[in-house]
Symmetry: C2
Subunit: 471 residues, 2 copies
Amino acid sequence: MIKDTLLKESKVSPDALEALYRALGKENVITHIEDRVCYSYDATATLQKAIPDVIIKASSTEEVSAVIKVADKFIIPVYPCGARSGLSGGSVPLHGGIVLDTTRMDRILEINPNDLMATVEPGVVTKRFQDEVARYKLFYPPDPGSAEFSTLGGNVAECSGGMAGLKYGVTRDYVLSLEVVLPDGSVINTGRRTLRSVAGYDLTRLFVGSEGTLGVFTKITVKLIPLPERVETLLAYFNDPEAAADAADGIILGQGIIPKTLEFVDGICINSIRGYGGAEIPEKANAFLLIDVDGEASLVEKDVAGVEKACWEHGAFQVVVAKTAKEREVLWAVRKSISPALFKVAGRKLNEDICVPRSKIKEVLRELYSLGERYSIHSACFGHIGDGNVHVNFLYGYGEEDEKKVAEMVEQMLRKVVSIGGTITGEHGIGIAKAEFLPLEVPSQEFQLMKSLKKFFDPKGIMNPGKIFIS
Amino acid sequence: MIKDTLLKESKVSPDALEALYRALGKENVITHIEDRVCYSYDATATLQKAIPDVIIKASSTEEVSAVIKVADKFIIPVYPCGARSGLSGGSVPLHGGIVLDTTRMDRILEINPNDLMATVEPGVVTKRFQDEVARYKLFYPPDPGSAEFSTLGGNVAECSGGMAGLKYGVTRDYVLSLEVVLPDGSVINTGRRTLRSVAGYDLTRLFVGSEGTLGVFTKITVKLIPLPERVETLLAYFNDPEAAADAADGIILGQGIIPKTLEFVDGICINSIRGYGGAEIPEKANAFLLIDVDGEASLVEKDVAGVEKACWEHGAFQVVVAKTAKEREVLWAVRKSISPALFKVAGRKLNEDICVPRSKIKEVLRELYSLGERYSIHSACFGHIGDGNVHVNFLYGYGEEDEKKVAEMVEQMLRKVVSIGGTITGEHGIGIAKAEFLPLEVPSQEFQLMKSLKKFFDPKGIMNPGKIFIS
């Protein structure tokens, strides 16, 4: 694994610091070491840490532009960030310089129920936005696991997916228009406030998922859809992860039901949360599916029956249907506790985020468990099985031996995934975590094309340097 | 209006022609004037025509690559095309050179019901593909009005929208991966065969809607969804176009129903198809909505009732619900006959394709009818009102006076549309038809950014030159 590094010398010269003071006021330019250390890492705790020289908490497009103009002039790395809940190191200030924190830009500027759209600043927390639009009976479907603290700016930068992707798509499918501060500090607007537009190239979607390497989003316009009338939650227990995968197919292909969420959790994950104090998990459970179905009330009832049927047919030994909102919360709390709970199994975990065509899921699971046995390292799997997006967690201890093993396992897994038409990251992004493996998936010419695009937008290489491309 | 032009001198030198012969075999390089004239225009009949020097009907990626390599070497314009049913002149070989016809590349390479995806060559006709996947109970929703002859390659190039956009999205939302021959003849693959991937920049969606100016698509992988169990069709007549617009709002906002299609047709269009021999249209009809609702059978029944209710509430004086597939076809034939029928009103029509936030529809209609009165030129409107996408047809006669009038009307309309947050093209693309107006919508810096991207991908300017950007 990559070692922690501390910044040797400041990337922000006295002249540059003075320029930042002039542009933003001294009180808005943070240089205390305590603050800087807090910005040296993100949710990917096992990755490289790096301490920035300066932190700016911007409160407007003008301030973002002013910061970037200084960075452009003095050639200082700029690391934009939201809640830093990303899982690929996308916001880690790898080469020091300026962290540009957008969390203070947290206004919901407009919710327009008539046109089914809303405009927000990048620092708005995902869950807050979901709740706010729900008051208008509207629905913003992208729902990353970190929705309670992640920001919409971060979601757009990473093209967050989350729980509801199979039925409702991912962040990319909802962004209509962006205000972007480019790496020279200029401000552009992409897209339109209309449900369709084909006027020129689709710059909007080039920025979505660009991981903060092409510019900083300062306004985001998204489309919304009517809030489904009803949601029901089921939890189905299986003896065998492959039976759960079969049941997922049974729901989609057999019953023709596209559930709102179709979450898979394997036995290793289950063991890590036993005694969590929420739902009681049967002793023999070696996998479960957590399924939300939503829509018009009578259809939801029908779909609940269809989902149950598919689960029984494919070997579920217990199916729980939540009867109240409280029961739904309990079932979901179980699912959401997994990611943090996995840390306790062996001390460390490496979270990978592969995605394969759904028909290849069982093949991949088999490979992962066999890898786990071969290396005596647990491969705990959960994720959005409907999309083929599996979060693989290698649970390992401290020490070089385990690190070496996990590094080998990751490489073998990713080679397998790419060989069957999959991707090394379904929703977490490349960041630092997967940069060394991107060339494994993206052929040389496409890789060079992406690198050239980066250079085209950011010739001085100041926007989130060290991410996505390392070679 | 732009005048027809005939090519003065060939862009394909004897050496270049020889190179094409060597690369493709002489029999595959068409130079007869009769064929060339046939390729001098597209469905936008009133636009500029231009005769190409050579036509190549490619049958493989290798052939496409070989042609483009010759074009790159000799700096010859290449005009890729499918069925040439586009409505912005996107496939017109404006500067002569080579027309690269991909209609022979018409194989459906794979339909994968398990993974809900399919891979096709670019020449596959949209309707054929829709029908083929329907045999597997799968659904490819993008449905341009020209689906019976348009090709999927053309659909991707223009990011076709069509009838089902509000509920199901547009072409962009279905393309997972592309094989693209770049302007230097090299072949790349973008995206993945997975429902999600965030591995690097989203090249796929940069190519979707790029109107053949960045490369030629030779393989297209799209996602599919389960075919809805049932579709029902309603036609509601109104005295007043604004009442129809209110009813559309009533369906979406009042009833919370997102119909599969929500087509608006105004009185001028209706008059052009009276006596068409299909459905009998009531004398006093001055607008109609044609609505498809689809989904699970019992829900469709409920939605039909909800749609009917909204129509009655907002002033419909007659609502027809199709009882049989045959009746559905009759209602739809009426809608689909409008575009060609409008020609007969005054001899010529100019088809514009504006899209506005739906709450601005009535304001735009008012402006259009008032423009029509002021200039004594009919503005016939129909289109996808759910998305705010209105096809405006200025019906005018031969002669310079009418041409001048229409040119003024178009400019005034587009300025209005842009001023209220709309776009000058919802689905037809910029092509030649709207190139002069693109800077009206896209601010100078974004416009220059798009032009620079074009130059980045196509430094010699050989891919579909003369389109999108004229200044």
